[in-house]
């Protein structure tokens, strides 16, 4: 579970101080599906990066699964990113010189998993995400939808608990966008906490919990949506 208390993030632009996040309090339980919406510069991505340990708060307290994240050193943070968190980006960020399969394998290489285990998992992911005859292709030979599927496979290959998606469909056409959302929601159904930043209100409404941000503050935080089946598991064995 994610717990933010009084989180602020200040950027210095020139000699001006710009608030990325102002005094944000937020609790997200395991397995939730949360969309974060708001205008550009409202702090959506900053919030996501903060939760994903890519950015550090200037003040406040962040607990991830009970552990205090404030003041954690670089290698421990990297450790948590590797094992607990999966990122999905608008621009996919696949390594251009590597094939789809190699991109998917990359987090496991960094984690030092044995080669046999890596092969097995990559094979499984390639089949699960419908990339069977694209595995050896490089990113520039793949369509946008395929690229994002590779990116999702990479983000989930270490079996993280939290999936952070920053405009995952922002660069896709409607059909591939729908495909990607289906995959993400499917993963959420398997108890992965899903946080998704989006501009698209229609997409945002699909989430069971919707957060609106303005000027670095959470303006509204409502739990609703078409399928209301909120079942926050307090059992930490599921973590």
């Amino acid at each position: 579970m994610i717990s933010l208390t009084g989180i602020s993030r200040v950027f210095t632009v020139g000699d001006e101080q710009v608030y990325g996040l102002r005094d944000v309090d937020l609790e997200i339980t395991t397995g939730e599906y949360v969309s974060i919406m708001g205008p550009s510069g409202s702090g959506k991505s900053t919030l996501l990066n903060m939760i994903g340990l890519l950015d550090k708060a200037d003040s406040g307290r962040y607990l991830l699964e009970g552990e205090d994240m404030t003041g954690l050193d670089d290698s421990r943070q990297a450790d948590l990113r590797r094992h607990k968190i999966g990122f999905i980006f608008q621009f996919f960020h696949l390594v251009p010189r590597m094939s789809a399969a190699e991109n998917i394998e990359l987090p496991m290489i960094l984690a030092g998993l044995p080669s046999s285990e890596r092969k097995k998992r990559v094979q499984g992911a390639i089949e699960a995400f419908g990339l069977t005859n694209r595995a050896r292709h490089r990113p520039d030979e793949l369509s946008g939808g395929q690229r994002q599927r590779v990116a999702i496979a990479r983000a989930t290959i270490m079996r993280p608990h939290i999936l952070l998606a920053d405009e995952p469909t922002g660069n896709l056409d409607r059909v591939s966008g729908k495909e990607v959302i289906d995959i993400l929601e499917d993963l959420n159904r398997q108890q992965i906490t899903l946080l998704m930043v989006t501009h698209d209100p229609e997409l945002g409404r699909r989430a069971k919990r919707q957060i609106h941000m303005v000027d670095g503050r959470i303006e509204s935080d409502v739990a609703q949506g078409p399928f209301r089946e909120k079942e926050p598991k307090k059992n930490h064995e599921a973590n």
Binding site: G66, A78, R81, H83, H93, R97, P107, L110, A111
Partner: protein, 416 residues
């Protein structure tokens, strides 16, 4: 709140495997073929030049040593004056050394440890036959010279045995002089004019080439007394001595010094050098020379290192989003440093290996052109080339690697 142990157990300290680090670096290097080729070329030239230059230096040393060895191994050379090659401060009182004379040379022959003695007087004089005339080096000596310097005759005989104080008008021509004055016709028994005297030609030296810096083809040998008369001097340039055997060298040297001291009123005013001393001196000189040229080669490796740094810095800024991604999927900063360092190390190692191949080809080519120049790639130069290359690659890879590790992942990922 959960205990910390909950995390520690799940995320065991597993780190990226070495083989994967190498593979990643190799893939990164080969992913950009043009810049990789250029880098490899620069490094190869650097490493190759270290090997080629030190091989040439080593070859020059061997060449000189071989030249000396061809003189015969039990050689002593007596020079007028003190300590010519040993160094030390110059004499404060300005000693004027006594000249070496023919009598000194003859006195030396009485030593039991000495087999041959060849007093030598050198100078230059015009040599002419008919309308052909040229200034030539004249070497005045005795019949023993042929043994001491291992000379071979192309025809005729060498200087005749007999009283060495007699200034006979006979001479032996070097091969080249003979060709110039007589062409292909026989010179034996003919007369040439040296200075203002006429000399009868007894023989012609074989085409032997260089011998300690003196072109034995471009020389005329006459009896030492004739040379002294020709140059109007009673002194000798030096005396060459062949000792009976190697074990007698020290004894012979002592006897030479003693004899000369007696004859020169108790003054040690000559220097006796052995071939070993000369060789040791040359060895030192050429080792220094070799190291110098190898150092020049090392500079080119350093230049290649700066190129590596440049290219790696460009690579870091080109691969910002890749670095950001690596951080997002769980690479700590020091892993990023390792990956970029591994890439520079890989590039410089392969560059060095290519450089070794390049140098092997270059040395082979030089050998084809200068067949009698003994070339052998010294082992230490191979090690030095590879060592310096890899060290340079790592050294100049540090800055780009650190810069990559310091990239802010949020900023790096915010662009495509």
């Amino acid at each position: 709140m959960l205990p910390r142990g909950h995390f520690a157990k799940k995320s065991q300290k597993k780190i990226m495997k070495l083989i994967d680090i190498i593979r990643f670096a190799v893939r990164a290097a080969t992913g950009y073929p043009t810049r990789t080729m250029l880098l490899l070329l620069a490094m190869a030239i650097g490493a190759g030049s270290v090997v080629v230059l030190s091989t040439l230096g080593d070859g020059a040393r061997n060449y000189v040593i071989n030249q000396f060895s061809s003189l015969g191994s039990n050689l002593l050379i007596v020079l007028p004056g003190r300590s010519e090659t040993v160094g030390g401060p110059p004499p404060l009182l300005g000693i004027t050394p006594r000249d070496l004379t023919l009598d000194d040379a003859m006195a030396l022959l009485r030593s039991s440890a000495i087999r041959y003695v060849a007093p030598i007087s050198v100078g230059a004089a015009p040599v002419s036959r008919g309308r052909l005339e040229r200034e030539v080096s004249i070497l005045g000596s005795t019949p023993d010279l042929i043994y001491i310097r291992r000379l071979a005759m192309a025809g005729g005989q060498f200087l005749p045995e007999g009283d060495i104080t007699r200034a006979a008008s006979v001479c032996v021509l070097g091969y080249k002089i003979k060709q110039e004055l007589f062409g292909s016709s026989s010179a034996l028994g003919e007369m040439v004019r040296i200075g203002d005297r006429r000399f009868r030609i007894l023989g012609v030296l074989a085409e032997k080439g260089q011998s300690i810096g003196m072109d034995m083809g471009d020389i005329v040998v006459i009896p030492v007394a004739s040379a002294q008369a020709l140059f109007n001097t009673a002194s000798l340039f030096r005396i060459m001595i062949e000792v009976t055997d190697r074990d007698a060298m020290a004894r012979a040297k002592e006897q030479v010094l003693q004899t000369i001291r007696q004859r020169h009123d108790g003054e040690d005013d000559v220097t006796v050098i052995s071939q070993d001393a000369v060789l040791a001196t040359f060895d030192r000189i050429f080792t220094a020379l070799t190291l110098t040229v190898a150092g020049i080669g090392a500079i080119s490796i350093a230049v290649a290192g700066i190129l590596i740094m440049n290219v790696m810095l460009i690579a870091v800024s080109q691969r910002r989003s890749e670095v950001g991604l690596l951080k997002a999927i769980g690479a700590p900063s020091r892993r990023i440093v390792t990956l970029f360092l591994a890439e520079s190390a890989f590039l410089s190692t392969i560059g060095a290996v290519l450089g070794l191949l390049l140098s092997a080809v270059a040395v082979w080519a030089i050998e084809q052109v200068f067949a009698d120049f003994p070339l052998e790639i010294p082992l230490w130069s191979l090690c030095a080339a590879v060592g310096v290359s890899v060290a340079t690659g790592l050294l100049f890879g540090v800055l780009p690697a650190i810069r990559a590790a310091r990239l802010d992942p949020v900023l790096s990922l915010s662009r495509r």
